[in-house]
Symmetry: C2
């Protein structure tokens, strides 16, 4: 985070989230941003690309920089490489740990985690609530080689923050397999739904910047309370 373009991007993101710019009003030009931050044009453009990728702004040649409608009431905006905790900042969020244990990878898990059978993995099953209502049931595995320690306290707040800020790991990229299916009786109980109700399901495989898998998870979202908003470029 010490690099210039990330610094510029996070300052601008902060300003945007603070509502310092009006919707659809023109934002500062690249020229003005260069002067303000005392960096080269390329650095400004890199920062703006990040904000564009995250769905905050767009640029129009010959015209300027504009704010995008980057949120919708009642929807969870999913941005690149960012945990749910940050997305839902401002809401009343909590997590109930259903299981947390250290296990050995069997053949199937080893294949998913791209690790050797027998490797140690943390297994965490938790139910995440927003405003007291169950939003998502999550089963996650973390490779102990990448994440040497985890406990309930961390799992109850933000695992993502712990991994990036405390462990200083850099998340590289992720596969997200998105589909829907009918809930089992047991999963339905957790989400306060009944067997056969639909569920939005996301299977994540998350890689560090080195290309190593450190996390695999299965998320089952409550079908009527979860609407995910992806802002793509």
């Amino acid at each position: 985070m010490t690099v210039k373009y990330q610094m510029v991007a996070s300052v601008l993101e902060h300003d945007i989230l603070q509502g310092k710019f009006q919707a659809d009003e023109k934002l500062p030009t690249e020229e003005e941003l260069m002067r303000k931050f005392q960096v080269s044009r390329n650095t400004i453009r890199r920062a703006l690309n990040i904000l564009a990728d995250q769905g905050y702004v767009y640029q129009v040649q010959g015209s300027g920089l504009f704010l995008r409608e980057f949120s919708r009431p009642g929807c969870i905006t999913i941005r690149k490489m960012q945990g749910l905790t940050k997305e839902l900042a401002g809401h009343d969020m909590s997590s109930q740990i259903i299981d947390l244990s250290l296990i050995k990878a069997n053949d199937e898990l080893a294949k998913k985690m791209r690790c050797a059978p027998g490797d140690s993995l943390y297994f965490i099953k938790r139910l995440r609530f927003v405003n007291g209502e169950p939003l998502v049931l999550e089963e996650a595995y973390y490779n102990k080689k990448a994440v040497p320690y985890l406990n309930a306290e961390i799992a109850q707040t933000s695992i993502y923050r712990y991994i990036t800020d405390d462990l200083k790991l850099k998340v590289g990229f992720a596969d997200k397999l998105i589909y829907c299916d009918k809930l089992s009786k047991e999963d339905g109980d957790h989400l306060k739904l009944i067997e056969g109700d639909p569920a939005l399901i996301i299977e994540n495989t998350v890689f560090l910047n080195t290309g190593v898998v450190f996390n695999v998870s299965l998320e089952k979202y409550h079908y009527s309370s979860a609407k995910l908003l992806a802002l793509t470029f």
Copy 2:
């Protein structure tokens, strides 16, 4: 497409799709690519960023450029700003037009399309099949100001290709609202499912590079045959 970085990216994409590189084997270095394409390092890096965004490759500092597993059997890979037709190239695809008409926007539609009530819109309802099985039921609106002409022949093949290649429009960005819900009796009939079965639903709002909405659509995917793979950075 005449610009250098897009040219480099599409040549490399073509090579990757042709299988010219082995999985997880190292690809050429930036140095080698600069020599091969006779362009500057920044241009190579821009091309590689595109391929990385599309999920094809990743780079590791100090190490090199690597191929990612960019597809999974039985899954539809969704990439930035690309129609289904290109994604499913190689499969047996067809579309059945259920409705195609020119209508006037009512207040609700005008709000969604960010246009004035009474503006002319093309409405298209079609069912898209893969290998003879229904995959997705789609209801789409196109602003006639942006897309002055549409017919069944175009709608039966690829609207996306028509818009970018023939009309020379540039797609800028899109909002995708993803959720699931129970199917109605009528929608279930189209997808060969029954009332109450789950459906993966995506509501798209697609903008031109000028920030103008040109398309809004509602896609209802068959829950057991559609698994969407998003490769995110």
